[in-house]
Assembly symmetry: C2
Homo-oligomer: 330 residues x 2
């Protein structure tokens, strides 16, 4: 559990993609974000008001969020002095980097002295068990993708919000760093020990009331040579009643792998439905969510209409068209 | 890398299944095993000569193998005095338990003083990367199963030995604790971080000469709700040219899950071939290996003949019939 409100630390980032964690929480949980703390040279913003550490502490900030990422996931030593200052100001430190905060003795000592926590989102401390495949009560939807980074988190959050606005009880279940920060809790599914992937997914969406929907953030793709194992364990443990296929237009190949072509929507439907039925024979695809940002409005609408007709399923861009058509299926 | 020769410590085990690790290495690498060390009350044996720690040290034992397992994978504190004694005698300590040897300060200190290693097989220290799906040179065979514990390690070791006896260059690639102990190296694939399953499998069977066969020990089953993610990542990373389907007769349900029925051989073939083709379009099943220990010789032979005819593939029990029919396919 991550305590809010947050101060979002974005360092001296210059690439908007590198502050995805900070931007996700600013976009989806603005009420949790007191402000952002940037260093000289920073060229990007979350849109939150600029605050320094003392100002944020005065306003009650409970967590100092390392809201940036870099390739390798290393913690830049230049940032340590700012983290130490936030600890002194009484904030928990929350990191989604590969490098563990708890590997820095000076941070550990200072955190003990100040009685605050070092929260390494990517290093789950939860004791996990292997999956059981046993049916749980309540209803579940999982977003699955043709590829990584096609909008599964955005679609899941949009669906959760839309269900709640329709007075349907729904909970967003986070499986990645950004989602965890938005939700304030969750399990970083690609960071658990391989033996426990589906067991972790089972714990993530426990028994619930019969009409409740858990909207589970998907990860990776069954067609991605690097991450399909994670996607399959998450699918089996989630036992989804409903699947939403997520896709992004104008990708020529799988993310990070120029030699691997993208699967078709049809393949993605077939792969996911047949795998999902191992733990939920009633699993079905209820719609398609497409990131159409690479094309014009008219092209987006045409593509969605054609795809909708082809598969006899609603097909929308959650950003351009909203997700009401998907929610009606639930 | 685990240094041989070994002294196999089996504690006071009473269940032959609980010393699978010790028995596997005694069966498959007798030349690496100086003897076994049992405590009063032990009712099982690996068949190796009984030796105490001093005797084994005199004969040059380099590793003291914790050759037992228990549910939970905990290290019984009663065993610490024996481990400490083996450290004093200059042996590395090798454990496949969940509990890490390095979590016991007295073991860590004594190992430092004696300049020996604490080797936690289940806690790989290797720096791993995510998979790439890039084709590697050399040939690969992966054993895959209808379920867990159906003979994938035994089949893989049998195939490796038979290929070598036919003067075909072949290497057994271990992915579980027992296999790692037999091979002296390997990667415990179900113990890596989920993100790195297929990346670990890629590292496990690196580029090789064109005619070389890596025989990769499979894990779990694509139809097992707990472990399918591991199986899929291993399959994608292994890029097998050849698959051998492993099966055990007279199982009524998936191991550990009484509510989950077993898949058919046909389903298992289809699932594995279609998934394997993501990273190796030429992947094909070359035969079926069955553990027939639950039936008579005559029933075993009849079952294998019928199955062989049904799928037009060789079908053997590696223990009863050997694996020559499978090797001829390679």
């Amino acid at each position: 559990m991550i305590q809010s409100p947050y101060l979002l630390f974005i360092g001296d980032a210059t690439d908007p993609l590198s502050i995805k964690m900070a931007r996700s929480v600013a976009d989806w949980r603005a009420e949790k974000c007191l402000g952002e703390y940037a260093l000289p040279g920073c060229e990007v913003t979350t849109g939150c008001p600029a605050l320094d550490i003392d100002q944020a502490a005065e306003r009650g900030a409970k967590s100092f969020i390392l809201g940036f990422a870099n390739s390798g996931g290393h913690l830049d030593e230049r940032y340590l002095e700012h983290i130490l200052k936030a600890i002194d100001a009484g904030m928990d430190i929350v990191s989604g980097l590969h490098d563990k905060l708890s590997n820095y003795p000076e941070l550990v000592k200072q955190a003990q002295d100040a009685d605050v926590r070092l929260v390494d989102i990517r290093h789950p401390s939860l004791k996990l068990k292997t999956g059981t495949g046993k049916k749980r009560s309540g209803k579940r939807l999982l977003t699955v993708g043709t590829d990584c980074s096609v909008g599964k988190m955005y679609t899941s959050l949009s669906l959760t919000r839309a269900l709640q606005q329709n007075d349907i009880s729904a909970t967003f279940r986070a499986t990645g760093q950004s989602g965890i920060l938005v939700a304030g809790e969750g399990i970083p599914i690609d960071c658990v020990i391989a033996d426990f992937i589906s067991g972790a997914a089972e714990v993530l969406s426990p028994d619930n009331t019969p009409e409740h929907w858990d909207i589970i953030e998907g990860q990776g793709s069954l067609s991605h040579p690097a991450f399909a194992g994670v996607s399959l364990g998450l699918l089996h443990g989630s036992q989804p009643d409903a699947l939403v296929i997520c896709h992004a237009l104008k990708r020529s190949h799988m993310r990070g792998l120029p030699h691997v072509p993208q699967p078709s929507i049809e393949e993605t439907i077939n792969l996911n439905v047949s795998a999902a039925r191992l733990t939920n024979p009633a699993a079905q695809v209820i719609g398609i969510a497409v990131n159409t940002s690479a094309v014009t409005d008219a092209e987006a609408t045409a593509w969605c209409q054609q795809t909708s007709a082809q598969f006899n399923l609603p097909c929308v861009d959650p950003v351009r068209h909203g997700v009401d058509e998907l929610v009606r299926q639930l």
